[in-house]
Symmetry: C2
């Protein structure tokens, strides 16, 4: 890499994130992007959030000082209340079970540092969130992938996968990572039956579950399903993480984790070598926003905005895309459509698509590389992730039309 710096083995291996490389390609006028998993900036509560800045004056000497690694007390108080709601955990976590992090990306990172030695295996859904692969890769993880369908992770296949990993690597997987509610990228929700079965299997094999839940509150249709953490009750097996990124604003970089006190203590120790604490400034602003009771009405607003956009994408896809070209499930919440491009390679489709000024994320980005998978490998070359939250309704319709043109014109057998 360089004669001056002797980089670590990890750094030598690390590739620029394919998604970030892709984002550079789509920064041009006229491009309609379904690529980034970004909230609608027009729906940000700009004035309401700015009005919380009085806390910077009122509590300035506290807010500007170093904060506790566990989080800023007024925000912790707001989160205990938030977690108590039936749509969240339905109970108030203990004080030692809560950690505020700088985005839930950091929660994955800290759990990786606390639990993983290089070479350890983590079970992830195929497909899964690439940022998690990146975080756990930083901790030296290898990945076993479990297939998903319209009801999320195919949990019945877990025991066989665990056995395959044990045969191949001589060790039991250390962690099961899941986005059970409105998965990124698939949009799927793990059914209640599967959640219960997942818990049984995890308990039997004594493997903790990381339940990543940034989208859980963003349901606009269908029946709510309890979080795995709330089903688990007293069991310390489930590590629950959520975030203000999708329900308020990613720019605050405030998220939280509820987990067993022993694990929280270990995460706290790791983060003291990483960033000491999350900005008290943003924590105070978010705490003020919650204390003013603004969060619930904002949630109502964005759920309605996202429902409209999701419906617009569903309508446009049905109208423009031939049924022999693609299949998908209409999401009931979250941010994404996950298209199966029948018989097509989504990388090839992507390159044609950006010529037509329409962008999405090709499916392979949501799978570990082949050489870091243990057990049966999975890959998503026929899939495409379409984010419906960022573009406006006209762009959604126009973008789906463009995509349809690409799918019609393209070579079926590249």
């Amino acid at each position: 890499m360089d004669s001056l710096f002797r980089f670590s083995a990890l750094a030598e291996k690390m590739q620029p994130s394919p998604i970030r490389e892709l984002f550079k390609m789509i920064q041009r006028p006229g491009m309609i992007s379904f690529a980034g998993g970004l909230p609608d900036p027009a729906a940000f509560p700009v004035s309401a959030f700015a009005s919380c800045a009085n806390v910077l004056e009122r509590d300035g000497t506290k807010v500007l000082q170093y904060g506790a690694s566990e989080g800023y007390e007024p925000l912790r108080a707001a989160l205990f209340d938030l977690m108590q709601k039936p749509q969240a955990l339905g109970y108030r976590p203990g004080a030692e079970e809560l950690l505020i992090t700088s985005g839930s990306q950091q929660a994955v990172d800290l759990v990786g540092r606390a639990l993983l030695d290089p070479g350890d295996v983590v079970i992830v859904e195929a497909p899964t969130y690439p940022g998690t692969l990146h975080s756990l890769r930083n901790a030296g993880a290898r990945f076993a992938t479990i297939k998903c369908d319209g009801d999320g992770m195919c949990v019945e296949a877990l025991p066989e996968l665990i056995a395959a990993v044990e045969r191949e690597s001589g060790q039991r997987p250390k962690l099961i990572y899941s986005i059970p509610t409105f998965s990124n990228p698939s949009g799927a929700c793990l059914s209640l039956g599967r959640r219960q079965r997942l818990l049984e299997i995890a308990t039997k094999f004594n493997i903790p579950i990381f339940e990543d839940d940034p989208y859980g509150r963003l349901r606009f249709s269908g029946e709510a399903i309890p979080s795995i953490k709330s089903i688990a009750g007293d069991s310390p097996l489930v590590i629950y993480a959520s975030s203000f990124s999708k329900i308020l604003a990613p720019g605050v970089r405030v998220a939280w984790t509820v987990a067993d006190p022993k694990l929280i203590r270990s995460m706290v120790m790791m983060r003291q070598g990483e960033d000491l604490c999350t900005s008290t400034v943003t924590q105070a602003l978010v705490a003020e926003y919650c204390a003013k009771g603004l969060l619930e009405s904002h949630l109502e607003h964005i759920i309605s905005v996202y429902q409209t956009k999701s419906s617009a994408m569903q309508k446009a896809l049905v109208e423009f895309i031939a049924s022999e070209s693609a299949e998908w499930h209409e999401p009931e919440g979250g941010f994404f459509f996950w298209l199966h491009l029948l018989g097509r390679n989504s990388d090839e489709v992507f390159h044609r698509a950006i010529e037509e000024n329409i962008a999405f994320v090709p499916g392979h980005s949501f799978y570990p590389d082949h050489d870091e998978q243990v057990g049966p490998t999975n890959e998503g070359s026929q899939y495409a992730r379409l984010c419906f939250t960022f573009a406006n309704s006209n762009q959604i319709t126009e973008g789906c039309q463009r995509l349809a043109r690409v799918l019609v014109q393209g070579d079926k057998n590249p």
Copy 2:
């Protein structure tokens, strides 16, 4: 550790930070604390900072969205200007040489991840900042310690230390970490001659230098000494990090690194698995603060406040502490006095001190553990770090009196 979680080897080894444990012991009424390295909360620019919140309304849709991992553009612009000042680097870094991080703790963490494989050796000053030891320990580092005197690191001993490390470990140290200006904890400044010699040695052995400079702008007496980075000119050997924590407010968690583009790119990749980006909310507030021209006048203000406090501590120490009990150099800036408690164990003194309601940090906290040192070991059992910035002037005088009582009463040979 637990039958449920199988923790990583790192987590099993990790101990709660001794400094944080100590902070729990000193949370009681009547305690005067010289322990925490905290800015004076009474000197925070509360109203001026709060007045910058108009940016949350004005640029809300950008500020609330995800930001670039490299940093928020308006703050990057402010930092290019700040770095150009003669008191900083004296030149404008290239766009690819700058990275904004969530505190400079994160800069150390990212450099550790980019450069270190487990077992790699980093040369650190004895004494050094414990947070850096913690970060680099997270990356699996071992430490070689180089002695310091009133002029900072004894650089002439470096070639011999490097040779000793190579003999003992079979490898060349990967990095030299230094706080050359107003060291934490020693308060010392590396002399110009030693800075030049350090660069020569680092160049000869091809070992990058991490120049950690959170205190450089806080000089209240003596002649300014150019940063190592600015002396290095075109050489990419020096990684320079500074922070808004001590010159504005730690609560913003905003710092920055200037380094070779290849290293910056690697740090960016690492941080995409760690926290994606620093909060755009705090970056925008800090950028606005800088754009309004408030930083320089605030610096003048706190330099004057800290000069007064430093003088008060110097006066009180001279007045109350017998010359046979302790030796120290009066600092010319920064946050700390570093007392050599002659013939005394500072842990023993510490426990007596907290009974007298006066707290400091015992010296051993600023040295790696014996079992993680490579080459000749160093330890600081006769030293004490006294922070003069947090307490007010009356507390400083009273605290030094209490400390003097402890030193007189204590057993010289525990």
